[in-house]
């Protein structure tokens, strides 16, 4: 720590021209705030204009891009830019992983707050924090070396499949859902006590009183998890197979917006039509993250009532 200077001296040591320092400090922090706003705005503007180029400059039809299932940008005579399989893949893995992870995550949160508040929390809390800390490429690598061969051997198909992507993502968003459900413990104590006093069992209390009361917070947590799943790139890319066809079942290889972007951004020439359509996919990701924010806003406004 070095020599400890008494606060008196530290405070009296101020510059003579104290008004200058005051103004400088204020300007400094305002600049920081302005940088944050401009970063957000420039991300939106840059990605927005770049993402729209394929429609405006290259004349790719927006309808075709969003609904056609034919993705064939390298075909010289008749290139096709239907990104629907990827959009479908993104939504499919997001919803399916939310369906798998939500009961587990919320169940874990209920276990921590209701079933074993003392030791359960002491064990599960660090477990959840450690799960958040594992980098996504490590999840992808484990998926690739353990999950894919397992699915291939025991379930069927090639192993690289929608199912593998869903499992990896479920594990990844599980901690997001559990940590955000801390709201369960913030519920007023008298809700619980009132219910128990009426003779309700613990399960009845959880199901009829606590879950309905915490519902907006629980949904917020699930939406946060879905936002993470929708934007996750590398872990999914390593296990999902990356094919351009629409998957017909869970064991089919598939692709998502993020995986196609990661895979093709490096191979395509900057400024070409194919490259521009990748930016349009990026724009979809951007728009979707705005949609998720609006959803969360809506849910938290309901929570306040």
């Amino acid at each position: 720590m070095g020599k400890i200077i008494p606060a008196k001296e530290r405070l009296l040591k101020s510059e003579k021209n104290w008004m200058d320092g005051e103004l400088r400090g204020k300007i400094l922090v305002i600049i920081c705030a302005v940088i944050m706003i401009s970063a957000t705005i420039s991300i939106t503007i840059f990605l927005g204009t770049k993402g729209l180029q394929s429609f405006i400059k290259n004349g790719v039809s927006l309808i075709e891009f969003l609904t056609s299932t034919q993705w064939n940008p390298t075909n010289k005579a008749n290139p096709e830019y239907g990104a629907f399989p990827f959009i479908f893949g993104s939504f499919a893995v997001t919803f399916l992983s939310a369906i798998v992870a939500a009961p587990l995550g919320i169940g874990g949160a209920i276990f921590m707050t209701e079933i074993a508040p003392s030791w359960g929390r002491k064990i599960l809390q660090p477990v959840v924090e450690l799960l958040v800390g594992i980098p996504s490429v490590v999840y992808g690598f484990i998926g690739l070396t353990v999950l894919v061969p397992f699915v291939r051997g025991h379930v069927g198909g090639l192993g690289f499949s929608l199912l593998s992507g869903v499992i990896v993502l479920s594990i990844m968003i599980l901690p997001t859902i559990t940590t955000a459900t801390d709201a369960m413990s913030a519920l007023p104590k008298n809700l619980r006590e009132g219910s128990y006093a009426l003779g309700a069992t613990r399960w009845q209390t959880i199901r009829k009183v606590l879950i309905p009361a915490a519902l907006p917070s629980l949904l917020t947590a699930v939406v946060l998890g879905m936002a993470r799943a929708f934007g996750e790139a590398l872990a999914v890319q390593m296990v999902i197979g990356n094919v351009r066809d629409l998957p017909s079942n869970l064991l089919d290889a598939s692709a998502t917006l993020t995986t196609i972007i990661t895979l093709n951004m490096g191979h395509t020439t900057y400024g070409s039509v194919e490259n521009n359509t990748l930016w349009s996919m990026g724009l979809i990701l951007l728009v979707m993250s705005f949609v998720f924010i609006l959803l969360i806003r809506y849910l938290s406004s309901r929570r306040k009532m």
Binding site: G21, A33, M36, V138, G140, R202, A227, T258, L286
Partner: protein, 295 residues
């Protein structure tokens, strides 16, 4: 009696869920460590990686990871703290503050690959730098900024009011109060939060693919001139970090020992992130003890 049975079944289900989550973590960690640590040796950590032959190490990737993290923090900490001070001390409730808060929320929820694309557009193509450490660090700054602002703002707000008011009552100006009273007492929580954020940056890969690149030039560790092409300290050179390395050897690599290299790297990566977490807790508790004299 039926509701009692239902209660028992439900309790069993919740316990099962908890056990599943714990088993998942234990399984993942033991897999990473058991499989990875047997490939980690001094040689693995200190030899350069190879593109085609087996037996490559991760020296450059490891250095790059720490160096990119360092540059990121150099930019993100002052910027984030400035933003945090503004939000906690200067911002008046109103439209502007709401807008800044929304901006932070948007930045926090953007997928890292989208930020990587923005980095590619601005820091790589528009500036003409190509793939650089600086571009990667700027992209990671954008990812990191919201969490530093949030941690900083919470820390500053939780400084006891009395401290601030006593300082102001002594006739100290606001900025000087912030510098000499508020920031020092908010320091422990800020430090803990920043180290935790650093752990997350360390494992980030998607944003670095398009900004710091997938390659590292031949580095000469004796060359400390930051403007030289071969110097590891040059911030205008491409740099493949450890997390990116795991991805690239698995998806585009030609080396025969992909599994060995990537499980070794994964173990190093996870252990580093763990160390960041432990360090954050340890430093946090030490400083709290020193400052508050509690046991």
């Amino acid at each position: 009696m039926k509701s009692k049975t239902a209660d028992r079944i439900a309790t069993g289900v919740f316990i099962a869920i908890a056990i599943i989550i714990i088993t998942l973590l234990v399984g993942l960690f033991s897999f990473i460590l058991v499989n990875g640590l047997k490939h980690v040796s001094f040689d693995f950590l200190t030899s350069p990686s190879s593109n085609v032959r087996a037996g490559g190490g991760i020296r450059d990737q490891l250095f790059n990871s720490f160096y990119v993290l360092f540059i990121t923090m150099l930019i993100a900490i002052p910027l984030g703290l400035g933003g945090a001070i503004y939000m906690a001390e200067y911002a008046k409730p109103g439209k502007v503050t709401d807008i800044i808060r929304s901006c932070i929320e948007v930045l926090a929820s953007l997928p890292s690959i989208v930020i990587g694309m923005f980095g590619l557009l601005v820091f790589v193509n528009t500036t003409g730098w190509g793939y650089t450490i600086l571009g990667g660090a700027l992209a990671l700054t954008i990812i990191n900024l919201p969490s530093i602002v949030r941690v900083g703002e919470d820390a500053i707000r939780s400084v006891p009011r009395d401290l601030k008011e006593a300082s102001l009552a002594l006739g100290i100006t606001k900025w000087h109060t912030i510098k000499t009273v508020i920031l020092p007492s908010a320091f422990p929580s800020i430090l803990t939060g920043v180290i935790l954020a650093a752990g997350r940056v360390f494992g980030e890969a998607a944003a670095l693919l398009f900004t710091a690149g997938l390659s590292t030039p031949r580095l000469d560790y004796a060359n400390w001139n930051p403007f030289s092409e071969q110097s590891p300290l040059n911030i205008f050179r491409p740099a493949e970090t450890l997390a990116v390395h795991i991805w690239s050897v698995n998806t585009q690599g030609l080396i025969p020992d992909v599994e060995e290299v990537s499980s070794g790297s994964a173990a190093v990566l996870v252990i580093s992130v763990l160390l960041f977490n432990l360090l954050a807790r340890w430093i946090g508790s030490i400083i709290t003890k020193k400052i508050t004299a509690t046991k």
